[in-house]
């Protein structure tokens, strides 16, 4: 189906069902229960899941297949979001041209950066991409302020009059898709549960599914095999008469365009763009996501992006009072003791948990969460394992 093998298609369908039903799946706890704070089914966070999923899928095409570790990938996301923002400010508030613009601008930028950076490999490549990203960040922050808005970034202002959108005098335009507001949506209350369906999320999710489908096609194509060859032995590739450079450059540009798509979608959701999206910590974050989920696997980056964004938004909200509430049944002294132990790992300290989990994954589970899932699956007997092989079969690492 759709040019995919059966098991790939099954994976795509599973992902499609999961993303479409995300408002239900991510809201498993009733509103009134104490566990409601673990619900991730609100539009803002769901949008972030899929958008950063796209970002990580794109990064994985470069790092997972060719083994080139880029430490400056956020630059493409940032450039893409500036491109999309200007499209919205000047031409139309419709999100589709803006997103396309983001992809195109990021693609062009990736051609420039990739052409230079890919002359070197290994750590030199990492440093070159990092240098380009930091340069773009510094320039966006200082000299390019007329284009980038400097520290405050770009927003849609009442003075903006896009060519093809008629906004009533003095009102701030809203991002829309052929007239449908990105923030539109409806709430569905079932008993004590409240499910929110948001237009923006579904648009982003459709883009994510397309991106995911394309990445499966790339992974299974002769082109993908070439990229794996770059990773496993570049010298041998040269000796067989193949030039690796065009393939790696193509992979780099594709992955830059994915980042641009993510940037464009971010703008479509929140109509703002700022330089902090290009800072090198943002580049580090996408590396973390991909590694955490599983490098070189299809579904891994999406899982990793989801896990990190979930931690960033949910774990960081837990404060001391909530902890005291949880441990309230325990004796007082023991309660305080437990709170004191747990507290550094949640709330503002969630980065600590992230760092520890990340280190544990790199040390013990080089294949990321996906490998973890496979190992657990293998524990459950032979038959069960072979079943899992078919559903998760796509998750073999690239090497």
């Amino acid at each position: 189906m759709l040019g995919l093998e059966q098991k790939d298609f099954r994976l795509l369908v599973i992902v499609a069902i999961l993303t479409m039903a995300a408002p239900f799946i991510l809201n498993p706890f009733p509103e009134s229960s104490g566990l409601a704070q673990f619900n991730a089914g609100y539009p803002d966070l769901m949008q972030r899941f899929v958008i950063f999923g796209i970002f990580a899928i794109g990064f994985n095409i470069l790092f997972g297949l060719t083994g080139y570790l880029s430490f400056g990938h956020a630059a493409f996301l940032g450039v893409g979001s500036y491109g999309a923002m200007w499209m919205m400010k000047l031409v139309t508030l419709n999100v589709v041209p803006a997103i396309l613009m983001g992809v195109v601008v990021a693609g062009i930028f990736a051609v420039l950066v990739g052409y230079v950076s890919l002359r070197r490999s290994g750590i030199y490549f990492s440093i070159l991409t990092l240098a380009f990203a930091q340069m773009s960040y510094a320039l966006a922050y200082s000299v390019l302020t007329p284009i980038t808005g400097g520290e405050t970034g770009l927003q849609i202002k009442p003075t903006d009059t896009p060519l093809f959108s008629d906004i009533p005098e003095g009102e701030i335009g809203r991002a829309n898709l052929f007239g449908m507001d990105m923030r539109a949506g409806f709430d569905l209350a079932v008993g004590d549960w409240l499910f929110t369906f948001n237009a923006g999320y579904y648009i982003a999710a459709v883009f994510m599914l397309i991106a995911f489908y394309l990445s499966i096609r790339i992974f299974r194509s002769p082109f993908g095999t070439m990229l794996r060859a770059v990773k496993s032995n570049q010298t041998r590739m040269y000796y067989t008469g193949l030039n690796a450079r065009p393939y790696t450059l193509a992979a780099f540009v594709i992955s830059g365009m994915y980042a641009g798509l993510a940037g464009g979608l971010l703008v479509a959701m929140d109509t703002q763009a700022g330089p902090e999206r290009m800072f090198w910590t943002a580049s580090g974050e996408v590396v973390l996501m991909t590694i955490l989920g599983g490098v070189g696997t299809l579904i891994g980056p999406v899982l990793g992006a989801g896990a990190i964004k979930y931690m960033e938004n949910i774990l960081s909200k837990i404060n001391k009072d909530i902890l005291h509430e949880w441990f309230a049944i325990l004796p007082d002294g023991f309660e305080d003791f437990l709170v004191a132990i747990v507290y550094p790992f949640v709330g503002k300290g969630w980065h600590l948990t992230l760092g520890i989990i990340f280190m544990a994954v790199v040390i013990f589970l080089p294949g990321g969460l996906v490998e973890g899932g496979q190992r657990i699956a293998r524990l459950f007997g032979r038959k069960k394992a072979s079943d899992d092989e078919t559903t998760q079969g796509k998750t073999t690492p690239a090497e």
């Binding site: 083994g67 570790l69 230079v116 002359r119 070197r120 490999s121 290994g122 750590i123 030199y124 990492s126 440093i127 070159l128 990092l130 240098a131 380009f132 930091q134 340069m135 510094a138 320039l139 922050y141 200082s142 000299v143 390019l144 570049q234 090198w280 910590t281 580090g284 590396v287 590694i291 550094p344 300290g349 980065h351 600590l352 992230l354 760092g355 520890i356 990340f358 280190m359 790199v362 040390i363 080089p366």
Partner: protein
């Protein structure tokens, strides 16, 4: 002329910090072949060693002083550092004043222990793994170390002043025969540069003139042969890791009066130091030092007003620009050895 001298001087202190961190990074890379992304965190921990020592020294008990009263006539509560009890008030004050230089003595053992524990506990297991894995695990470690420091010391910068004797500035121009007040340079920055030169000199001397250093150099050149000769090279490399950590830590300790330490200063320096190492040439110690100073001075020239008028924003990107140019024209860096990290 005086503007040029001033910019060179201004570049030296930042260049010293770059050179010291890059030296440690190169030591680790040259001996163990590990790309250590947690090195910036070691620099930061060094800086917090100074903060910790000055907190220990000013650790006080509260006494009620009958001789002083507040405006209501009640006796005032006064904090008396324990140092006063041990050394008397005057010596105590001097000790507190000199907390930062004293931290050097405190930081060396602490940083050595941290370095050795890091190498034995974590990095040892990553020798055979690809460079990408080493980068990733040390990157994770850097996040963890940074967050631990943030938890204990908070997110705000902690001012840690230099001893009162060094707070002033030094009229460098007058000494060289320029008009007075043209080239003024804070004392502490001179000290920092001299200190960095001393450390760099002693690391090189240690490697060049001691038997231990000779074995380490032999191990850097050909590890297997040295092992075949019956020398436990791993243990010496572990020690070198400790020394590299101590170098980074000392760079951090002495940097505290220039910039108040905060938990992310390590990461800020790390990115630049990596660029410095790569520009100098992976695995080349003199290259790292040279590139550190060159880039530090270049950065300070790029932030001159006259330059910024012509090329605005140059000061922000100069280091990266130089790195890109060097990497594309001299792939091995300024002084890189053949065959090191060339894929």
């Amino acid at each position: 002329m005086e503007a040029i001298i001033l910019q060179v001087l201004n570049g030296l202190d930042k260049g010293s910090a770059y050179a010291l961190i890059a030296l440690g990074l190169t030591l680790i890379f040259g001996t163990l072949g590990v790309v250590n992304f947690a090195h910036g965190a070691l620099f930061m921990i060094g800086a917090f060693c100074a903060v910790t020592l000055s907190r220990i020294l000013t650790w006080s008990r509260t006494v009620i002083d009958e001789t002083q009263t507040d405006f209501l006539g009640n006796p005032l509560k006064v904090e008396v550092p324990y140092v006063y009890d041990w050394f008397g008030q005057q010596t105590g004050d001097t000790i507190i004043d000199w907390a930062v230089p004293l931290s050097i003595l405190f930081a060396i053992p602490v940083m050595m222990v941290i370095g050795v524990v890091m190498e034995r506990g974590l990095i040892k297991h990553f020798y055979k793994r690809p460079h990408a894995d080493q980068i990733l695990v040390t990157f994770g470690l850097a996040i963890v170390l940074q967050e631990i420091i943030k938890y204990f010391y908070g997110a705000n910068p902690i001012p840690t002043p230099a001893p009162a004797a060094f707070t002033g500035s030094f009229d460098f121009g007058a000494m060289l025969g320029f008009d007075p007040n043209l080239i003024i340079y804070p004392y502490w920055r001179i000290i920092y540069f001299a200190f960095a030169a001393l450390i760099i000199g002693s690391v090189f001397a240690f490697l060049q003139f001691t038997t231990f250093g000779m074995v380490v150099r032999a191990g850097m050149a050909d590890r297997e042969t040295v092992q075949l000769l019956g020398i436990n090279i791993d243990r010496r490399f572990t020690t070198m890791f400790g020394i590299a950590a101590a170098v980074a830590g000392l760079a951090g300790v002495m940097y505290t009066p220039i910039n108040s330490p905060n938990y992310h200063m390590g990461m800020d320096f790390l990115v630049l130091s990596f660029v410095v190492v790569v520009v100098g040439g992976m695995g080349s110690l003199p290259g790292a030092v040279l590139a550190g100073f060159v880039l530090g001075v270049l950065e300070s020239f790029a932030s001159m007003g006259a330059v910024l008028e012509v090329l605005p924003g140059l000061n922000q990107i100069i280091i990266f620009l130089v790195a890109i140019i060097i990497l594309l024209t001299r792939p091995r860096g300024l002084m890189g050895r053949k065959g090191v990290m060339e894929e």
